[in-house]
Symmetry: C2
Subunit: 254 residues, 2 copies
């Protein structure tokens, strides 16, 4: 299995604190040693950092921890391989263009019978069940909506119905974003927390690191974090019910 990390915020926000917690799970406090990746949106563009090496030993992970890239939408993942070998092309998140937008996706879980998924125009590059499922979702969206729909909430509801079908094939926890929305679909484990004023201190569960968000934020900031398991041990995270999803935009539930 793997761990997911997502963020949605109303102002460009860095994710250094949470990423520091997550990378510990890549070989120190967790067994997820088969690579990691993180995608930051900046407007319509996005940048990904990925490494097939364990996150706790990755030079590129050190850079991401040290370098405060600010974003309003982030999708991250650390991997414990089940389907597909350990290689760059099998490392999440995956990004593809649809409707002239970058869509980014990460999956935690394992699927059976995924080779029958018809991905149509979107062909997988790697060998994972995850990427094939992503291509299948995009193809279903392309068929249903030849152009970007005006009603994006209805579109994400349709994505959830596709995710339900994938969940029937195994375990399918997912993060999906176009840079504006971040969707969190839960099959087994996915938690979230929204931080807003008054901000307080948070203590990482996986490393001896504390942050005082009061010093790092302004009173109007709204920042939602999404993670497979809560990343802090002194805050109340909400678990998403199995088969449900939560949609975020600018840090707020939609």
């Amino acid at each position: 299995m793997c761990e997911l990390l997502g963020m949605s915020a109303n102002v460009p926000t860095d994710i250094c604190f949470s990423f520091t917690g997550l990378v510990q799970r890549g070989g120190v406090t967790g067994p997820h040693v088969d690579g990691w990746g993180i995608t930051f949106y900046e407007g319509k563009g996005c940048r990904s950092f990925k490494d097939p090496a364990p996150s706790c030993k990755s030079k590129i992970a050190e850079l991401v921890q040290a370098f405060p890239i600010k974003s309003q939408a982030v999708v991250g993942h650390i991997r414990q391989a089940n389907r597909g070998c350990v290689s760059l092309e099998n490392t999440h998140p995956f990004t593809r263009e649809l409707w002239g937008q970058n869509w980014t996706y990460a999956h935690n879980g394992q699927l059976k019978g995924y080779k029958q998924l018809d991905t149509g125009f979107f062909r997988p590059i790697g060998a994972t069940d995850s990427e094939r499922a992503f291509c299948w979702i995009l193809e279903q969206l392309r068929i249903k909506y030849p152009r970007k729909p005006a009603n994006m909430k209805a579109m994400f509801k349709f994505v959830a119905s596709l995710a339900d079908q994938l969940r029937a094939k195994g375990v399918f926890n997912m993060l999906l974003s176009n840079g504006e929305f971040v969707m969190a679909y839960c099959s087994t484990n996915l938690h979230w927390i929204t931080r807003r004023a008054p901000f307080g201190e948070a203590q990482l569960a996986d490393a001896d690191v504390t942050i005082d968000f009061y010093k790092e934020t302004t009173p109007n900031d709204v920042v939602t974090m999404i993670a497979t398991q809560p990343l802090t041990n002194n805050e109340q995270w909400q678990k998403i019910a199995s088969g449900s999803y939560v949609l975020f935009k600018d840090g707020e539930v939609q």
Copy 2:
């Protein structure tokens, strides 16, 4: 205008030396201050580093210079904006999937009448003439070759015929790679050099840096560099004729 940088090699090779020369042109020895990007292939996967900030001041460029990422196929670009604002989504190289492969592209030049190019399935994300031209090339390839053709040299010849049409709209120097092949199409300026045993010293034209390739290589290494202008001042670079292209694989001309 912009500057292109490409590499094709028969063994995974780092590009730190040439990249050090190129970044100088992003604000020190050249006027290309509107961002830079570089894509490294690792097998079927690829990783991109991009920054809308001038390369000579970029933290991420410092990382790429310091961190010897080894690859057999590289496409890089530094930008002086003409069409499209300075932003991440307008920063080259651009990567899209076709035939289940990552295709990476960078363009130097400027096109007129590019908004009429029908990009079909591949929709531009940013606002550059370059990305639209790339989407148009991919769409023409998708129509002509629904599956990956067995004869890739014929396919690249077809790409050159498309590039000829784009060159008729202005200036169109291009690098295109699928990780296996690197194609260099010249409209006005594009140079290349193949380094092989016996290796000697090279002196960067844009910075006071010398490298002794003999110390950095093995006798069987074959490494071709492609650049808008020669990056070294003590080696013989070859200029590609206007309207011509050179195709490389494993460092060798195909």
